[in-house]
Amino acid sequence: MQEAISSIPQLAVSPIAEILWLIPAVPIVAAGLSALLKQSGRNTSATLAIGSLSFSLLLSLVAFAHVFSDWTAGIATHEIVNFTWMQFGASNVDLGWVLDPLSAIMLVMVSFVGLLIFIYSTGYMKHDENFTRFFCFMSLFAGAMLGVVIANSLLLLFMCWEIVGLTSYLLIGFWYQKPSAAAAAKKAFLTTRIGDVFFLLGIVWLFAQTGTLLFYNNGAGSIESASLSVLLTQPAALGLTAAGAIGLLIFAGAAGKSGQFPLHVWLPDAMEGPTPVSALIHAATMVAAGVFLIARVYPLMAAGALVGGTTMALTVVTWVGAFTAVFAALIAVAQNDIKRILAYSTVSQLGYMMAGLGMGGVAVGIFHLITHAFFKALLFLGAGSVIHGCHEEQNIRRMGGLKSDMPLTFLTYAIGMLALCGFPLLFSGFWSKDGILEAAQHWSMAKAPFYMLVFGALLTAFYMTRQMVYVFGGHWRGGKPAQESPAVMIVPLGILAFFAMALGFIGTPAWPWFSAILDGNAANLDLNALIEPGLLTLMAISTVMVFLGIGWAWWFYGDRSPKPTVPDALEKAAPIAWSWLSHKFYVDEFYGVTVIAFYGWWSRVSDWLDRWIWGGVVAGVAWAFSLGARLNRFLDNNIVDGGFDKGCEELTVGGGLLSRMQTGRVQTYLRILALAVVVLAAILIWSYKT
């Protein structure tokens, strides 16, 4: 191509990899166009968004097909296109995109789920007057997310990452007239910012160390062996290598995006946005971006294995993930808002993914990511359909008996719920979760994560059953009765439901070609892998857990559908625990009394200082001066009057003489300047001579 580009060695790449950039570009262009539309251009914007995204989906499928055929031919596809974006001084900043199994799979997932959700939202947002704006944001988001996926440069990834954050902010605050929505949007933006600052630090450090931000660059990339070995030699604080430290910084960013423990607080509040948004951004794709990021820089995280085949960075990832999984699941048990429950379950599932990445590697985590994307999107859209049917009612205590009112929704929702619980054999969640559990079982560092995750599975089953019972079981407890949603909303549910079941079979231990594609080795079907004893026990354990959870929840909530006023069954059983859970372990309150309170306190303090100390000093000085002045005046008036006036006149005359200098004529000043030049030059020459 051009000089600028040819400065980077290019390998021959397939045509699809050449035009891979179109996948994100088209939706972004569509967003730009629909931004120009008037409010009335509803159909146009919807058509733009859906059309562009289906185009991206098409290309993504082509890309995936390319990868797949390569894989069947025994090649691990890895095609990169890099170019120099900007060049200052010696170093230059390169951007580029990469087509490898990871990005191909993610592309298909994002564009497919996104497309379904777009179609769904044409129904869900029908009556919103800012329809156009909504689709503008949505396709901007989709484009940016696809950009994150194909980025071959940490910088490009970060740019798209930030656009994603921006769109998330815009969409959470889409109904900005609701103060709660505005607040939630701000919270989400700021919380993720905290993570992103660390992320940026990591990027800068990486650039400083390796001089490039490209992931892969024919051996010269920042996460390829050459620069990794450099990074490993660089020691950082607390016995970490630079690689580990950078990995941790990047993980902080990822934690911010995908709501890991300390920074998870924004995700539940993000449910203030329209439900399709929650489905697309805060369940399927954006929160997965963090997980994807870790998967992308996995070589960096895994560089320089310690004893036991794992590294500091990965250990941290694992522990945070496992803890988040249990923590969020616990909270989810005691929520009443249908979307909040799903939000917390999302957080906990993200914890699973992180743990999976930490312990089992890319394939395990990403597999759960994909399956989760489908069934969680399904659940959210189902929830949306429920809310839609119940006239914007979100409290599950005031629902019930929808089984008969909204049968199709119930069916699909049930499938999603079973998939999320990991109901044995039939559902994708089971297999992907099993992958993680298996990895946890064989993890060398500690066994605790394994038990935590198993417990998490139990809780998942519990709270999902509770929700199901409340929403669909029993009899209707709300206002005017619910009715089924339009077909345009149901059809996507159906499709997602299908995938929520089918997707499991591409990753069973019997025929694990999903992980095979990712790891680039052949997959062959042998059913013996299923009845391999260690695995059998594991599957048995998780099955037992699932049934235990469901049974337990049924025993608690059964089919009795209490009045909303009656306290929750679990609350009756264990009030203290309940209050902790329903207050989300007081994390928000904790932040409120620590961080935020500190800022408030500090601002008050400085305000007080301004008012009293500095102000006081100034006032005091002023007062002293005025006292002196009074004294002076007294002396003047009575003692040195006559003589002083004379002096004053003298001074006035002198001042007048001085003020002549200020003629107000430009040329005078210019003259003075020139004189100064003369003098300076003369001095300079002299100093040079001597």
Partner: protein
């Protein structure tokens, strides 16, 4: 043989120069070429005037000059004699020196422009590395001459005409440059010979002229519009709008000086058309690969005359604009269009070859064109004209 015919002028020059001592030869060669240019284009100018008058006459159902010589083809000679023998009047209050210098400066700068125009294979006076820049530098200098003429004759019509002319030239110089920059971006050189060479390839017998690309086509249109305005030709001929100001900035000129202005304008038209030919129409390269045997200079000059004919045609067809329309058009339509065109050119340069870049580039240009055109029409409440009496 054909090669010799193609290079005949070059060979002729070498042959003539070869009589001189070696030390003089370069200078002599240059002088020779200059002489050739200085003789050729006035002759062309004479020819064009009569062509224009007859062409306009035909367009307006008249006969045009038909008395002097066969079909009035000796008309220019008669005009020349007249203008040479006429009294040279200088207004008493005029600023004599400036009044005298203006036409000279105009003609000189205009002729300078030809120095870098390749009029055929190896037929360029000086092949500057920054040829295009040189050309525009010279073009910019003519504005000053116009102003001098208008200001020095101490006549409000002249002054108004000059002001209009200068304002118009400045406004349209921007799109002129912008549309040429697109070509430079693709060729990667400011040298006009290189630009021609870059267009002198053929696929399936068709040439790679820049006009046959989306950006080139759009650029050529912009360039043509800007050119018409630069040379104060109708429909942009406000500076000498006879109906408003007597004759614009050369109202107070008579006799030979007036002839010089006249000459200057036409030669400017030739040179700028020549530049357009060089930039977009492949300069001296043949339009089909099987016609490459025809001497290159024939192609150059036929293209030149073609564009001249288009000028005449437009003059005969289009009504004159109003000053504000002129400026609005320049700044609100042509300039943005050129900027978009630059963008598209960049896209073209950096997208690999293939149908995709054709589709994308043309799509962008079309959309912008349509959008801005419609907006402009709505703003000015323009619409299809309704003929009340003709039907």
């Amino acid at each position: 043989m054909i090669e010799n015919l193609d290079q005949i002028f070059v060979l002729l020059q070498h042959w003539l120069v070869s009589f001189l001592p070696a030390s003089w030869q370069p200078a002599a060669g240059v002088l020779l070429s200059v002489a050739a240019i200085v003789c050729l284009f006035p002759a062309l100018f004479a020819l064009t005037t009569v062509f224009e008058r007859k062409g306009l006459a035909r367009i307006q159902n008249r006969l045009g000059p038909n008395r002097v010589g066969p079909f009035g083809f000796f008309q220019p000679i008669a005009d020349g004699i007249k203008s040479l023998t006429k009294e040279d009047i200088v207004p008493s209050s005029a600023d004599a020196a400036v009044h005298f210098l203006a036409p000279v400066l105009l003609v000189v700068t205009v002729f300078m422009g030809f120095a870098v125009l390749p009029m055929g294979r190896n037929m360029v006076l000086v092949d500057l590395d920054a040829g295009l820049l040189f050309y525009f530098a010279m073009g910019a200098s003519t504005e000053l001459a116009v102003f001098m003429a208008g200001w020095s004759s101490r006549n409000k019509y002249s002054l108004l005409g000059a002001m209009r002319a200068v304002a118009q030239m400045i406004s349209y110089e921007v799109p002129l440059l912008m549309s040429s920059v697109a070509v430079v971006m693709i060729t990667g050189s400011l040298s006009l010979t290189k630009i021609v060479e870059a267009q002198n390839h053929y696929t399936w017998g068709f040439p790679h002229w820049y006009i046959f690309t989306p950006w080139g086509f759009a650029g050529f249109l912009m360039y043509a519009i800007a050119t018409t305005a630069e040379t104060n030709r109708s429909p942009f001929d406000l500076p000498e709008g006879e109906s408003e100001l007597v004759a614009g900035y050369h109202t107070e000129y008579s006799g030979f000086k007036f002839a010089l202005f006249f000459l200057g304008e036409y030669v400017a038209m030739f040179s700028i058309s020549g530049l357009g030919t060089t930039l977009f129409l492949g300069g001296w390269s043949a339009p089909f690969s099987f016609l490459t045997w025809v001497p290159s200079w024939i192609w150059f000059f036929s293209k030149l005359m073609l564009s001249i004919f288009v000028f005449i045609w437009m003059r005969g067809t289009l009504p004159r604009l109003r000053q504000d329309q002129l400026m609005n058009f320049a700044w609100k339509f042509v300039l943005p269009m050129c900027l978009v065109n630059l963008l598209v050119t960049g896209l073209w340069r950096f997208m690999g070859d293939g149908w995709l870049r054709w589709a994308l580039c043309s799509a962008i240009l079309m959309i912008t064109y349509a959008g801005m055109g419609l907006a402009e029409m709505r703003r000015q409440r323009l619409g299809p004209r309704s003929y009340r009496y003709a039907e």
